[in-house]
């Protein structure tokens, strides 16, 4: 169902064509990285740390090297020294020393699964066998995996040269706290003094993994001409190119990255893990090398998004106006400094107009893999806290949870805690859509059943994108772009080009280029592709039309360009004569130069995606199991280019949020090694765990895009844990302060509360 605010009539946007890469993906022909086969290709295997924290005293690779069939063995000693340098990766900056250290441990291992050495051999079994002959001597160090413990002065220190950064000021003593952020708005004491009701709670959330089904994989071929070719599963080919070149200390132009089809990323396939290793193994062996991670590697050495501790306090007046908010947040950084605390701080109160606020945030190193983005990174944790407190205030003052959100919803002009004001945004419209929805109007009866709602926000970013359009004899066009396609984006871009040009989606052949063939394009992440690369496709289409107008004036109609009119349907007219895009394009082709158009854009404004979810649950008091009975996800898409894929983003993000809420977590042994590095024990939602996920797409146009498009990919993961926690409260009367709200946790809490009562 789509609610349109009536902003424009489209021919292509809003329809649901079959995706261009569809046939390849349903027949097994689509080539993912693990499917790449090159002549003479070796297979690589990575030896990983068995302990959570320790010094590497020595590594003896002689037996591995002597194994028949082994062509290369590398350790950090074979990698160049990258020094202490910050590299700007477009989506964020990173210290190369840390990036390189995460790819291959230097003098220390910082988490179980940390890569220590890599082997290339004739097949995977030989490589694995040889890797297991490498003798590594460790001096084991005490370890820490709980964020508050890691912040203590006497905590095991991961990096003795890491000092806390407080906006440019460094702490005197080394610390696991990488960053302290602090934001203020209004006057917090005055704010709380005006409140009639104040609620405060502490929350904690477990580390979770992005859980993409395709394990990381890369193929590297260090060619005889000195160029390194990489085929890889990445969200950003240019980012992978830059990271690889920096880590290997080779010129960026000597690396070419071909993005293969990618089996999910969700933020976890931006940092490189394998690319520099296959490059170095290929250099040493003189052969192409492929490494595919095992699922255990994926769980132990990649991913997780921060576990957190949060203390949040919100105050309101008796008539429901939120007045003051205070938050103290500590997020896992993992083995190296992380990047999710900033957005966490900025999102904690981002859905509401709260006049007085103070937020403190800490990014903390501990013995887990370096944390990575996971769909709206940092926002889901804080929404779990804030959205429950808002419900609690509503309950205390006897207000409906929807009404309190409507009363306080962020809108155009609302000032976020970090300072900027929102441009036009769609939260109010989403709440209205909720109020009018069948789900909200339906009744929910029965014992131990409850309904909960929650709102969520993610910025959505712009960044850099390029597109090139070439025109064929018959007026069909080819669209070359650089955004790796994880979920159908080729088609949503082709549709925007088709819309401008007045042709059909099928008239456009979209293709994702490698880093040699397409202009620089930032990662597929930040909900940016349909928005920013879409803008590039649109702009290239406009460039093409401009060229065609002047050529039509010159070569067809013998008039001045301003006597040629470009009609809304993409046709060109002069003196009552009209030519469609295809007619004119083939005519120009026949008698003159081929037509090529291009665009390079870097829209800078966030697209500001808001969503509201409503969940009905039933709680089984015998087991603590929560069954999701009904779920509706409502989100502002600005303009839904391909509604099926917008719905798909909403449904997929929602279900990841449901998994985060109800089941997913890492378990650690006493020695801080991961105990559940498999899909059997790290339990992601299966089909059987879920109902259908209903969606309502709201369309409140984004003023920064010609069709009003907003990014939609990330926001849907934000509300589910909070919506489900509110539903559980309404079903049982118990408030959930930790994620996941798994059966044992909920069961224990219900038991202890009934014992108290």
């Amino acid at each position: 169902m789509i609610k349109n605010n009536g902003n424009g009539e489209y021919r292509v946007l809003g329809t649901r064509p079959v995706r261009h890469d569809g046939a390849d993906k349903v027949t097994g022909k689509a080539v993912y990285t693990a499917d790449v086969q090159l002549p003479g290709m070796l297979r690589g295997f990575i030896l990983r740390s068995p302990i959570a924290h320790g010094l590497i005293k020595s590594i003896d690779t002689s037996a591995a090297k002597a194994t028949p069939g082994v062509h290369a063995v590398i350790t950090s000693a074979d990698m160049p020294d990258v020094g202490d340098k910050i590299a700007d990766l477009g989506e964020g900056a990173v210290n190369l020393k840390y990036l390189s250290g995460n790819v291959l441990a230097q003098d220390k291992v910082l988490y179980k699964g940390h890569a220590v050495a890599a082997v290339a051999a004739v097949d995977i079994h030989v490589a694995e066998e040889a890797a297991n002959k490498i003798i590594v001597e460790y001096e084991e160090l005490p370890s820490v995996t709980w964020v508050l413990d890691a912040m203590q002065d006497d905590a095991p220190l991961l990096h003795d040269d890491l000092h806390t950064d407080s906006m440019g000021a460094k702490s005197e003593n080394p610390s696991n706290i990488c960053t302290h952020m602090h934001f203020e708005k209004g006057n917090i004491e005055d704010g709380f003094a005006q409140c009639d009701v104040v609620v405060e709670r502490e929350f904690k959330t477990a580390s979770v993994h992005q859980g993409y089904i395709e394990p990381h994989a890369s193929v590297g071929d260090w060619n005889e001409d000195g160029r390194l070719r990489i085929w890889t599963a990445t969200q950003g080919s240019f980012s992978a190119r830059q990271q690889t070149a920096e880590i290997l200390q080779i010129p960026i132009g000597d690396v070419v990255v071909t993005p293969c089809e990618i089996g999910g990323g969700f933020g976890g396939k931006i940092a490189v893990y394998l690319e520099p290793l296959v490059g170095m193994l290929s250099k040493v062996s003189g052969r192409p090398v492929k490494i595919s991670m095992t699922r255990a590697d994926v769980f132990e050495a990649t991913g997780p998004t921060p576990g957190s501790y949060m203390k949040v306090k919100i105050g309101a007046t008796n008539d429901g106006k939120l007045i003051a908010g205070e938050a103290w947040l500590a997020y896992d950084a993992g083995g190296y400094p992380g990047g999710m605390i900033g957005p966490g701080c900025m999102c904690v109160f981002s859905c509401y107009d709260i006049e007085h606020a103070v937020v403190d945030g800490y990014d903390v190193c501990l013995n887990k893999p370096n944390t990575q983005a996971y769909r709206a990174p940092g926002a889901t944790q804080v929404a779990f806290a804030t959205e429950q407190l808002v419900d609690e205030i509503a309950k205390q003052i006897g207000m409906c949870p929807l009404e309190i959100r409507q009363l306080n919803a962020a809108k155009e002009g609302t000032v976020r805690v970090d300072g900027p004001k929102y441009p036009p945004v769609g939260l109010v419209e989403c709440l209205e859509a909720l109020e009018e929805s069948d789900h909200w109007k339906s009744s929910l009866d029965g014992p131990l059943r409850g309904r909960g709602i929650a709102a969520g926000f993610w910025f959505g970013c712009g960044l850099k994108s390029c597109a090139t359009v070439t025109v064929n004899h018959d007026g069909t066009v080819n669209l070359l772009e650089g955004s790796t396609d994880i979920g159908g984006s080729r088609t949503s871009l082709a549709m925007q080009l088709a819309e401008v040009l007045g042709i059909t989606s099928d008239d456009v052949n979209p293709m994702v280029g490698d880093t040699d063939s397409v202009g620089y394009t930032d990662v597929t992440g930040g909900s940016r592709v349909t928005f920013a690369t879409g803008l590039a496709a649109y702009t290239a289409g406009r460039d093409l039309q401009t060229q065609m107008i002047s050529r039509a004036a010159e070569e067809v109609w013998d008039c001045s360009p301003d006597e040629v009119t470009l009609e809304n349907d993409g046709s060109f007219t002069h003196n009552g004569e009209s030519k469609t895009f295809k007619e004119l394009a083939s005519q120009l082709f026949k008698h003159g130069e081929p037509l090529v158009a291009r665009a390079a854009v870097s829209p800078e404004n966030p697209t500001n995606g808001f969503g509201v979810h409503v969940a009905d649950v039933e709680v089984d008091p015998e087991t603590g199991k929560v069954t999701v009975l009904r779920y509706t996800t409502i989100q502002d898409a600005g303009k839904a280019v391909h509604p099926s894929y917008v719905e798909g983003q909403l449904q997929g993000g929602t279900v990841q949020g449901i998994g985060w809420a109800l089941n997913e977590e890492y378990f650690y042994h006493d020695n801080d090694t991961v105990a559940n590095a498999s899909f059997l024990d790290y339990r992601m939602p299966t089909m059987l765990d879920l109902p259908m996920i209903d969606t309502i797409i709201v369309e409140a146009a984004n003023p920064d895009h010609p069709y009003g498009v907003r990014g939609v990919g990330e926001t849907p993961i934000v509300p589910p844990p909070a919506a489900l926690a509110n539903a559980i409260y309404n079903a049982t009367g118990t408030r959930m302060e930790q994620l996941p709200m798994s059966p044992p946790v909920l069961w224990k809490q219900l038991q202890s509360e009934s014992a108290e009562a």
Binding site: R16, V18, R19, D21, G22, A23, K25, V26, T27, G28, K29, A30, V31, Y32, A34, D35, Q37, D123, H125, Q210, G211, Y212, I213, E214, P215, E261, I262, G263, G264, G265, F266, S292, T294, R295, I486, G487, G488, H642, S644, Y645, E647, G648, Q649, Q651, G652, G653, T654, V655, Q656, S678, F679, L680, M684, P685, T686, M687, L688, L690, M692, I693
Partner: protein, 160 residues
Amino acid sequence: MANKRHVSTTINGEPKEFLCAPHESLLEVLRDNLGLTGSKEGCNNGNCGACTVILNGRPVDSCLVLGVEVEDAEVETVEGIADRNELHPVQECFLEGAALQCGICTPGFLVASKALLEKTPDACEHTIRYNLAGNLCRCTGYDKIVRAVQDAGKRMAESN
């Protein structure tokens, strides 16, 4: 290499012979020895279903089957679902219903769905969810997959 075994089998209707070591899984054989990379590896231990193939009429995780076990068997993979250039109804319905995003889980779902629908074309939502619970998808939230399987069942029933 010395102890490789010779195996004769039928894959997607065609007789095939291959050599494989006793420890190699059917998934490895398909992908590395026979170049049939449509079956995907998501976990290599039977927990994701991305490697699902039909073995003698039943869906199995090919990562849990040894290559040597398919002697004289009939194996069907995602590459064999379409009839020349004609997509199978389950493939059509997945495309029309946007039941894939990244597509890495898709081969496994298609194979498992086809196996289910051949037995139970009118499978209800619960039956589908129950039978395909061994196939993980992290992108779609499953909603559109369930609907696509239902639609494919209808289409198969109509064409029979």
